[in-house]
Symmetry: none
Amino acid sequence: VAENNCKAEHIAVGSEILLGQIQNGHAQNISRILADKGFFLYYHSAVGDNLDRILQVYRTASSRSNVVIVTGGLGPTEDDLTKEALATFLGRRLVLSQESLERLEDFFTRRGRVMPPANRKQAMCIDGGELLDNPNGTAPGQYVVDKGVYYFLLPGPPLEMTPMLKNHVLPRLQQVFPPKHLESRILHLCGIGESDVDARIVDLTQKSNPTVAPLAGEGEMLLRLTATDTAERSARELIGETEDLLRQRFSRYIYGVDDETLPVVIGNKLRHLSASLSFAESCTGGLLSSMITQVSGSSDYFLGSVVSYSNDAKRTVLGVDADILEGYGAVSAETARLMAEGVRRLMGTTYGVSVTGIAGPSGGSAEKPVGLVYGAVSSAENTVPFKMMHSGSRRQIQIRAATRVLWELWRVLGR
Amino acid sequence: VAENNCKAEHIAVGSEILLGQIQNGHAQNISRILADKGFFLYYHSAVGDNLDRILQVYRTASSRSNVVIVTGGLGPTEDDLTKEALATFLGRRLVLSQESLERLEDFFTRRGRVMPPANRKQAMCIDGGELLDNPNGTAPGQYVVDKGVYYFLLPGPPLEMTPMLKNHVLPRLQQVFPPKHLESRILHLCGIGESDVDARIVDLTQKSNPTVAPLAGEGEMLLRLTATDTAERSARELIGETEDLLRQRFSRYIYGVDDETLPVVIGNKLRHLSASLSFAESCTGGLLSSMITQVSGSSDYFLGSVVSYSNDAKRTVLGVDADILEGYGAVSAETARLMAEGVRRLMGTTYGVSVTGIAGPSGGSAEKPVGLVYGAVSSAENTVPFKMMHSGSRRQIQIRAATRVLWELWRVLGR
């Protein structure tokens, strides 16, 4: 259902995609980010680093869409043809942007290097178009409008592309194609499986305003609610009602809304409580700490961790009793308890949180299979251990266990 | 470079892909499986469940490719239009296949069910074409040749699609387009920037056999070498020569081949030396440990880490001298040195490796800007600190710093 007359499509440029060496992750990412704001993609394409074939794809795209978003091929090498091909296709010249050139030279100077001559072509702008600032890399984006078609060229690295999509592309689309009023909200759930969620929202997923779409993540679930205004009700009201229903059904599992990931909501809660946190990690090997420290400002409440991968480290650094380690094993509620208490004491934090388990693929037994994980949350009042069972690859088990441990901590911290 | 005159492309049909609800994993999967056998895809496309748009995509595909592989949209519902659209596009009738109908009814009978009437349409075959048996589901594939274009329609579920690609599509392609022998190899580089690599391989990237293609990763670079047999030389020999040349030019930067990531090569080296490893992490917040422990069996050499995010943790857990911390600051070569030595002593490992820096976006100063990172590798012989300057977002700086630290460790361990 189109909310506006925007007909967008995405083109990924890069031979490595066509050879199957990398996943074309941008297609899904861009579709999802735009759909959230009521802009829909009608086609995805991918094409290699070949001038004739890129021109072919531009020809097809411009004949059927009015917004064309292209990713990749903006680098400094001769293989990077995206911008040059569009200039050729539109019959326009490439003009040096002095401002962009200075910004590029600055980028290299700040890193103590001289800009290689090859990078100069990144400062070229299609005549009549506009270069889009890229704060995270050397390749600026390109924006140009031609015969009613809006072209956006964005660099390939995801960490450069995504902010540019949000900061440059979306605002321009919203200006050119004012949407019907559309509102969307994402609820984050943890501690409950996909099929359990699906079974309990059958009535809601069949409604069309708002729509409720479940999305499975690693160790968590997202529910995306999207509504448009009707004559009687605002989109916000419609979403609010459905959110209330979902909160009644999934109260203990919903931990956040929109951009509120577990590390973010836990950080806010700890800051509010003036409390501090440390981890004792075994099977997650540092992942838990890495997730918490992805949030800027996490040093306000996160003091540090011990990755006690070996039994020696559990004993000597965390002070886990050797008899407990031998009697119950490293993967046990008892060891998890002593790890959490040990790291809390060592780091002097309000909360100490531990995780120990078998990430596999080797190391499992009949009694303690791959995927068995224990955790514990320790505070001044008490230490509460918990047990989990996860499936999947080694990496999936690590991610799912870390996510689940964060959820257990969130529950202890209270809403 | 075409190894035969097969010009293939892939079309994924399904609105859920365009909405970003699922990843179009088939595109990469099919590209990889076919490229392995010397067949290349020149375009990927995705289109929703809409007759007009599917016809538009068939028109474009048949004008530029001679093999068109379509996945999805072969189910029993009204939304499933892939086969019907192709019949319309080719101007051919759909004819009931009695054999396929019986096979379908059998499929349901074996599961103790009666075939719903809607499934009957799955037994319809495009006139002059051939249905392809699907042992893992109800939707047979469709094969049809029209005006020199070979069309393959395959069902969407990956566990049904992949065996059909291997058993039905590949043998037919190999018969129609006898392939040449093809060999490829990937070299991994770290410690050198993309433009520096590009500038030193201009002569090689212009050659066509083998081809040399650079790919930028986070904090590292890949060089992909691909060769085909000639009358005089085998593909393996051709690749070997170019690899030798590249190794002469980039000897100190090339750390691995094909699947050998830094955590893998470091693990192999440590195991070979019967050596052990620990980390003291500040700005990377556990990421370094998490990277090393993604490798199964890393407990053989990785004993543990301290994520010393606060200055207190650096002092009390790692024993970093308070005067050094105050005098030089937490982000300094001196602190990095004491952190590496401290964790090595604490964990009792052969090597202790540290990293401390400013990941940003806040916390930088004129003297110590965001992106400034120090590291050190400590062993029984000595402790060697090093300094880095990284750019990008908080997450990029963390990833690039961790990757660079692993590379410095790899250099210390020797080839």
